[in-house]
């Protein structure tokens, strides 16, 4: 294996098998780092915990449920207001969070009464909400509170309410990934099949593994609805608790993030025989192919093609405007899990950027397989990176832009490397055709920022120009283009609105598309 040993990690030899440098002849059999293993203490890893994987990543995007954590207040506070998973019901899930506030006395004598009181109080505080998800934490797991029993009691006492319990304490596994798994399995075991949904179309899907970051999920659902497809549930971005209880009636599970949500798709296949179709909403090519895949399943190819043609015609010239200017820009693709392979090849092909490094905090080997298969020769791939390795990788690979989280982004900033938020996005959504242009726009704005150019000047030592009062981004980016390249009829920078998601919420779709008889007429 072409393992890459970081200088900063020679003293922890077990790290060596967690990074590879893809060579000319390499494929997956010769080039694959280990993944999803126990974290080495003290490395300053970027990993989170299983509780956050369950509650924060997957549970909380559900928009019409009270979200409560059974434990000390910190777990709740810390995972509140750190994400951008919006919803079409005025963001209830972003605004309200609940902690049972476990104290020493509960640790000693048990916290079940406390939990019950909390559940009742919370339903009283939000009379318009009668659904609840409750999460175990390290503390409540260690003292062994039976949360299911309390949930059953409360549901009995408050008819009309429904409570979901997820037992994924923070220490459950090497990263947040353990929590993704646990909540998937709990949801299918406890809740799916307990509500019979209203079927309004001959084409019915669950859209799974999208968390509606800045509206991603709503953008994708717009495409499905334009094809006449009923989206029975969205797991879990902008997702409705009761709709997710009716997942079993879909004809197809359309899976986006396989890292966090393949488990429930697999279970839905085993239990209800619903096939799983993996798709990819990022990038013109992958998205077009994905829409066609879904269409083929239902025989709606014409509709999909019409949508693709319309969208590509509208947005491709703007993507091309950026591609020209982003070609050769070096980026590190350092997200949490699956975006490393969702984005790896697509950004290279469609925006012209060179991906020089991939990493994953909580991905498994399977994610790395897909990432490395799509990566170019010379890419440095790192599993469970830590602070010093990240810095060393930046110095070694010299990227222009890094796609990562808020805090690692600040590390990059000090290295004079621009960052884009890979988890919450800068100015998303990034899914959809327009979204992909927004992504390109954000990369362009980062790389050609005039302030970024200024940051490299040492006014005490450098001979710097004083002939300009300003620079536009285009004055910087277009230097390397010929006038013919720079000015192509129809090609422009992004022309969409600041908010491209809210208008989708009031959009209407022709109901005749939902019947298969009309499908033949189209």
């Amino acid at each position: 294996m072409p393992y890459h040993e970081f200088e900063c990690s020679t003293c922890i030899p077990e790290r060596k098998s967690h990074a590879v440098l893809k060579g000319e002849e390499d494929d997956l059999t010769t080039c694959l780092p280990e993944g999803h293993l126990a974290t080495i203490p003290g490395t300053i890893s970027e990993r989170g915990c299983a509780y956050c994987g369950a509650k924060h990543v997957i549970g909380t995007p559900m928009k019409d449920a009270i979200h409560m954590s059974h434990g000390p207040v910190g777990c709740t506070y810390d995972t509140w207001q750190t994400k951008r998973y919006i919803s079409d019901n005025d963001n209830f899930q972003l605004k309200y969070t609940h902690a049972t506030d476990m104290k020493e006395t509960h640790v000693v004598f048990g916290g079940m009464d406390l939990l019950k009181k909390n559940m009742i109080e919370a339903f009283k505080a939000h009379p318009e909400i009668n659904r609840m998800t409750v999460y175990q934490t390290c503390a409540s797991a260690l003292i062994g509170d039976d949360m299911e029993a309390m949930a059953r009691e409360v549901m009995k006492e408050l008819p009309g309410t429904d409570i979901f319990v997820c037992n994924a304490p923070g220490f459950g596994g090497p990263s947040q990934s353990g929590g993704h798994h646990k909540i998937n399995i709990s949801w299918i075991n406890e809740k799916v099949g307990t509500v019979e949904p209203k079927i309004t179309s001959d084409y019915v899907i669950n859209y799974v593994g999208d968390y509606n970051i800045q509206g991603d999920c709503e953008v994708m659902c717009d495409f499905f609805k334009r094809m006449g497809i009923q989206v029975l549930s969205t797991f879990t971005g902008n997702g409705s608790y009761d709709e997710l209880r009716g997942m079993h009636r879909a004809h197809l599970n359309v899976l986006e993030c396989a890292r966090s949500a393949e488990y429930i798709c697999n279970e839905l296949r085993v239990k209800y025989g619903i096939p799983r179709l993996d798709i990819d909403g990022f990038g013109f090519g992958p998205l077009s192919e994905s829409l066609m895949k879904v269409a083929r399943f239902f025989g709606l190819e014409d509709r999909a093609q019409a949508i693709i043609d319309e969208e590509v015609a509208r947005w491709k010239p703007e993507l091309d405007w950026y591609k020209k200017r982003l070609t050769g820009v070096k980026v590190c693709l350092w997200p949490g899990g699956s975006k490393l392979w969702h984005w790896a090849n697509a950004i290279h092909e469609e925006m012209g950027v060179e991906v020089v490094s991939l990493y994953t905090k909580f991905g498994h080997q399977g994610d790395m397989e897909k990432g490395i298969a799509r990566a170019e020769v010379g890419t440095l791939a790192i599993d469970d990176p830590n602070e010093l390795e990240g810095l060393e990788a930046m110095r070694m690979m010299k990227p222009d832009v890094i796609f990562t989280g808020v805090r690692p982004g600040e590390v990059a900033k000090k290295q004079r490397i621009q960052y884009l938020n890979a988890h919450a996005y800068h100015n998303g959504p990034y899914k959809g055709f327009e979204g992909w242009v927004r992504f390109a726009r954000d990369i362009y704005n980062a790389h050609y920022s005039p302030i970024h150019q200024l940051s490299g000047i040492d006014i005490s030592k450098d001979d710097f120009n004083i002939d300009k009062g300003f620079m536009t981004r285009q004055m910087i980016s277009d230097v390397k283009l010929t006038p013919e390249e720079a000015h192509v009829e129809g090609e422009t920078p992004y022309t969409g609105e600041f908010d491209c998601v809210t208008p989708l919420r009031t959009k209407t779709y022709p109901s005749e598309l939902t019947r298969s008889t009309t499908a033949q007429a189209v």
């Binding site: 900063c8 990690s9 922890i12 126990a38 974290t39 203490p41 003290g42 300053i44 890893s45 970027e46 989170g48 915990c49 509780y51 956050c52 000390p72 777990c75 709740t76 506070y77 810390d78 995972t79 509140w80 605004k95 309200y96 609940h98 902690a99 506030d101 476990m102 104290k103 020493e104 640790v107 406390l114 009181k117 909390n118 109080e121 919370a122 505080a125 934490t137 390290c138 503390a139 797991a141 260690l142 003292i143 304490p169 923070g170 220490f171 459950g172 090497p174 602070e387 010093l388 989280g405 808020v406 805090r407 600040e410 590390v411 900033k413 000090k414 004079r416 490299g456 000047i457 040492d458």
Partner: protein
């Protein structure tokens, strides 16, 4: 007309004001030079706190985790502390101080932190790191006790206890700032300089606001040294600005080394800043200089333009750190405003005995509520469902929706304030802080008047 002091009636928390103790200890740890703490618990206890710091300061801070996994929860996890210390020391040659911060999980499983430190001191440090100065400091911050505020208090005390060492009197004053921002430390050091007082500042965090440098050298980290901490035992006195964030350490120094201490009030507003200067004068014997009379005059001049015209009788709710909330309330009252709701976000039984709260209870001549063990629902619910009328909310960013949804202007103050740019750079303490607060309040109210078309024409002439 009364001031009603009571605890929240509900048992749980809807929208917390504070996070748990380990966060406070982590905030202390980043203020110390050559220090990286190890948080002994699940990885989320560190990852999210680092993210919180990054959100507030828009900068990165290094804190390590012992990365508790399932097996550790079952079999105990002191072994993971041993590995963490070794890995950290091997890879960070500058590290001299490693606070080992406990969490709920490791306190419940009962890991013997003092025991493992002892073992490391006599084993690993002697053998593998012989000749290297390393201090391992236990900090017990179970998450099921107190809050981030008490965690801060506990950590300052633990560190002072670990290092303070009586040698020769240094003639300095210990200034324990409490949980403040870099801008506050700058303002405090300015006052000390004007008074010509030499002080040991716990903690030197101005460098949290670090530059983006052409040579990439900018790093955000505190600068209080081991030597500073040692020397706290040799001071002429300690002033802890915040009773609940650093007060414990001041009392410890007094009890153990006879270093006299003054605890609070936080120098927020004109009156509390006057008090602080008087305390400095008494402790150091140095006069308050003319220049500070002038500075104070500038602040009073600014506030005079605002108070009786714009602030009088404005109804304010304030939430956040207890010392901050109380001092802000006092300042608001001096500026003719009416704090009607104060939310103190944990179950500290000391609030009932706090003289400042007693004074509010005795003297406030309008209806005011002080809620202990509060959450942000106490605010939201009163506005939405119980008819509370407010002109202004003051508090940190986690309360932003109470302001946004209820259309009440809000001044961001305290920690964290990630939804406004650069607030950590501005002081709330001292005369400079008084000016900033008053003008921030005014401009926030002005913007709201314009946005709501509520007598916005007033500002045509001012």
């Amino acid at each position: 007309m009364s001031c009603d002091l009571r605890a929240k009636e509900r048992s749980g928390i809807i929208n917390p004001i504070f996070t748990c103790q380990p966060c406070g200890a982590q905030y202390v740890s980043i203020g110390i030079k050559d220090c990286i703490a190890i948080v002994h618990g699940g990885q989320g206890c560190v990852m999210f706190v680092r993210m919180l710091f990054a959100q507030h300061f828009k900068d990165n801070f290094d804190i390590a985790s012992s990365s508790l996994h399932e097996d550790s929860a079952v079999f105990g996890a002191t072994g993971r502390v041993e590995t963490a210390v070794d890995v950290l020391l091997a890879r960070y040659p500058h590290v001299r101080v490693i606070p080992i911060i406990t969490t709920c999980s490791t306190e419940i499983i009962g890991d013997d932190i003092e025991g493992v430190i002892n073992k490391l001191n006599n084993g690993l440090l002697k053998e593998k790191y012989a000749g290297r100065e390393v201090h391992l400091v236990p900090v017990h911050t179970p998450s099921f006790k107190g809050s981030m505020i008490s965690g801060y208090d506990v950590a300052v005390e633990s560190l002072v206890k670990a290092f303070a060492e009586q040698t020769t009197p240094n003639g300095k004053i210990n200034l324990i700032t409490g949980w403040v921002n870099p801008g506050d430390v700058t303002a405090l050091k300015h006052l000390l300089a004007m008074m010509q007082i030499d002080a040991t500042v716990l903690f030197e965090i101005e460098s949290f606001d670090s530059p983006l440098m052409p040579d990439k050298s900018g790093v955000s980290h505190g600068e209080t040294t081991v030597e500073d901490l040692k020397d706290t035992a040799n001071a002429v006195g300690t002033i802890a600005l915040n009773r609940y964030e650093g007060g414990k350490a001041a009392k410890y120094l007094e009890k153990k080394f006879k270093v006299p201490s003054v605890i609070g009030p936080s120098p927020i507003g004109i009156r509390n800043t006057d008090t602080f200067l008087k305390q400095l004068q008494t402790m150091s014997g140095k006069p308050i200089p003319e220049a500070l009379v002038k500075e104070r005059g500038i602040a009073i001049d600014a506030i005079t333009d605002l108070a009786h015209m714009f602030f009088a009788d404005k109804r304010v709710a304030i939430f956040g750190a207890p010392d901050l909330v109380i001092s802000l309330a006092e300042f608001c009252i001096d500026m003719e405003m009416k704090p009607v709701l104060l939310l103190l976000g944990d179950d500290n039984s000391g609030y009932k005995k706090d003289d400042r709260i007693k004074a509010l209870q005795a003297n406030v001549d309008w209806d005011m509520e002080i809620i202990m063990n509060a959450d942000l629902w106490e605010l939201d619910d009163r506005i939405k469902n119980k008819g509370l009328k407010l002109d202004l909310i003051m508090g940190h960013s986690k309360g932003r929706w109470a302001a946004i949804d209820n259309h009440i202007p809000m001044v961001r103050v305290g920690f964290p304030t990630y939804d406004r740019a650069g607030l950590y750079r501005h002081p709330v303490v001292g005369y400079a802080g008084a000016i900033w607060l008053a003008e921030e309040i005014a401009n926030t109210l002005f913007t709201d008047m314009e946005y709501k078309r509520n007598k916005e024409w007033l500002l045509n002439v001012w």
